[in-house]
């Protein structure tokens, strides 16, 4: 094994990277907060004929290598953007179509702003550059107390884990016996990491990064999305110079799970020439 193969193997294992599909152009699907690459399983297969589909888990999520979690690195979204860039560099991906759900929209933007030449398109599903209101001009939809309420819900639903499962998982890299238990639970496997990801996500302010985007971008905006309201999606589209905004009939925040067909169609139409820029 050469050194570079070894390093590539490390990243692939660390981020549980899966590559499938018959096409050449890479299409990278990035999961949002609270879940893992599984959330794309209703959408990603539709692109396997035409693209090289790349799926992964951020460090700390799904079946990533939890021992690679570094609280400093992942204290901001830049650490997650580095995961994306590590994978892109490791697999030497070019002309990447990056599909990011929710917070991964911003992570994709950060990655693309750092290495724009690697990316062909950004598909932003339910993006929000800032969840917390910033009066008088910006309405993100939430107050700080609301986010604290969400963290509280996480604490309450993970409390059993903190004391029982989590320490075991942290020590067991392959987690064989626990897989089944985890499958019946949330996709975010470690409560401490999930909490830090939540903080990195919901206390982030990436508004200033939007104007720097040079990669053509599609904003997919759901109807009645409680997490990323329409005004926020419109704000994103207005501030990214190279964006196309598409409203969906789908309601909620997870159209790739609740309305996969419409999501697939929207992405295909955009990639097949529906770009405004």
């Amino acid at each position: 094994m050469t050194m570079s193969e070894g390093l590539a193997g490390e990243i692939v294992r660390r981020n549980n990277v899966k590559v499938v599909g018959k096409g050449l152009q890479p299409m990278m699907f990035a999961h949002g907060f609270g879940c893992d690459q599984n959330m794309w399983r209703f959408v990603a297969p539709a692109f396997e004929d035409a693209y090289r589909v790349v799926l992964f888990d951020y460090v700390g999520a799904g079946r990533s290598d939890l021992s690679a979690y570094d609280p400093n690195r992942y204290s901001t979204l830049q650490g997650y953007a580095q995961d994306v860039l590590d994978i892109v560099a490791t697999l030497d991906l070019r002309d990447v179509i990056f599909v990011g759900h929710s917070v991964s929209s911003m992570i994709g933007i950060l990655a693309a702003n750092r290495e724009p030449d690697r990316f062909a398109d950004l598909i932003l599903v339910g993006p929000s550059p800032r969840y917390i209101d910033d009066p008088p001009d910006y309405v993100g939809g939430f107050g700080r107390a609301d986010i604290e309420g969400m963290l509280d819900a996480m604490d309450r639903n993970y409390i059993g884990w903190v004391n029982t499962l989590a320490p075991v998982i942290m020590k067991n890299e392959d987690r064989p016996a626990l897989t089944q238990e985890l499958e019946t639970s949330f996709c975010s496997t470690d409560p401490k990491i999930a909490r830090q990801f939540a903080q990195a996500t919901f206390f982030a302010d990436n508004r200033a990064d939007l104007a720097a985007v040079r990669v053509p971008s599609l904003v997919l905006q759901c109807f009645d999305d409680a997490i990323a309201p329409t005004t926020v999606g419109e704000y994103v589209a207005r501030n990214i110079p190279t964006s196309t905004l598409r409203y969906m009939k789908a309601t909620g925040h997870c159209p790739h799970m609740s309305h996969p067909d419409e999501t697939i169609q929207a992405i295909k139409e955009y990639l097949d020439g529906g770009r405004d820029h």
């Binding site: 963290l151 819900a153 789908a250």
Partner: protein
């Protein structure tokens, strides 16, 4: 039969728990009277609304990021804590069980909701205690870090100036003076090591230890650790041997942390083995793992202490040269590297500590 159906619908409407059916896109399709009463809505007003409208803002996020993905990916959700929002703006904490299935051609989630007012108060108390404990712990860490810095600086002065004296910087020392200054220097180093142990332990407790896993040659790690105890071994007249630790044998570990663990085990072996005794480092491997054993012919560990030997601040015998954290730190570091540290010992005969790591 008709009476039974009536009774059943009556039960569903008024049973002391909420029944709720929600479509995939979050529309409330069915809600029973108990739940609409609890929420303060007239019975018909809830159907057709978004489920988001009966959740607190924070729980809307939780619903979208956790609850719905769980339902969609696994088909069910058990014992999920949610805080609902009543019509009057008040909170309604509930425990939810939900199952997602097909009905009349579309996918719906049937949920039962149990109000958990009193249990929530207990949980509040537990969570509050947990947060207070976490804050206290963080405060302790800060205190330790400041204190250790403040202690370390004068200690460095003590060892530094002692070295100057020993090096004859201010003229020759008499034999007695030399012995006394050496004692001063050794004692200062001892205190510095204790401070390092305490700090390391605090970092481990906080989960702030950085572990950089790589392939590490066992022989190399052992050689580096041995170099730091060889003098003391010779001084104490101990026989040391190394068995089957070939250069090619490698484990997945953090090289510095592995060295720290090995140094601790060897130092302990030296400390607890009488002059003329024997210390052996033995390497064994199978397909999956590398076992590195440090065996001594020392005082051994009494049976009643064996189970507690890896706990912090536990010492085999009261010892002023340490604080009883070495083994605890070593075990935590080994665990953090995905391995384990175990012990076998017979009082009066000797001890054998085994570090097991994943083979590289």
């Amino acid at each position: 039969m008709a009476a039974t159906i009536d009774a059943l619908s009556e039960l569903l409407e008024t049973a002391p728990c909420g029944f709720l059916t929600v479509s995939d896109d979050g529309t409330i399709l069915i809600v029973n009277r108990t739940l609409s009463d609890l929420l303060g809505f007239p019975p018909d007003e809830l159907t057709g609304r978004s489920v988001q409208s009966i959740l607190t803002p924070g729980n809307r996020v939780f619903y979208q990021t956790h609850f719905f993905p769980l339902l969609k990916l696994h088909g069910r959700a058990d014992e999920i804590f949610l805080t609902l929002r009543r019509k009057d703006g008040g909170d309604l904490p509930v425990l939810v069980n939900a199952v997602r299935h097909e009905r009349d051609g579309s996918m719906v989630a049937d949920c039962i909701l149990m109000r958990i007012h009193r249990r929530k108060l207990f949980e509040d108390a537990i969570l509050e205690a947990k947060r207070t404990a976490e804050e206290a712990n963080a405060g302790k860490e800060k205190f330790l870090s400041v204190m250790s810095h403040d202690l370390r600086t004068p200690l460095q002065a003590v060892t530094g100036y002692a070295s100057l004296l020993l090096d004859g910087f201010h003229g020759d020392l008499s034999e007695e003076q030399r012995e006394d200054v050496t004692e001063i220097k050794n004692a200062a180093r001892q205190v510095a090591r204790m401070i390092d142990d305490i700090l390391d332990f605090a970092r481990i407790e906080r989960g702030a230890v950085r572990i950089e896993m790589q392939s590490v040659s066992i022989q190399e790690a052992l050689t580096r650790a041995e170099a730091m105890v060889r003098f003391r071994m010779e001084e104490s007249g101990l026989l040391y041997s190394r068995e089957d630790c070939t250069f090619a044998l490698a484990a997945r570990a953090d090289p510095d942390r592995l060295q720290q663990v090995l140094l601790n085990l060897l130092t302990n072996a030296v400390k607890f083995t009488k002059p003329g005794g024997r210390i052996r480092a033995i390497c064994e491997a199978d397909d999956q793992s590398v076992h590195l054993r440090v065996a001594d012919t020392g005082v051994g560990i009494p049976e009643e202490k064996l189970a507690h030997i890896f706990e912090p601040f536990v010492q085999v015998e009261p010892d002023q040269r340490g604080v009883g954290l070495g083994l605890s730190i070593s075990r935590e570091l080994t665990l953090a590297m995905g391995g384990e540290l175990t012990v076998q010992s017979v009082a009066g005969v000797g001890s054998m500590f085994t570090v097991t790591l994943r083979r590289a």
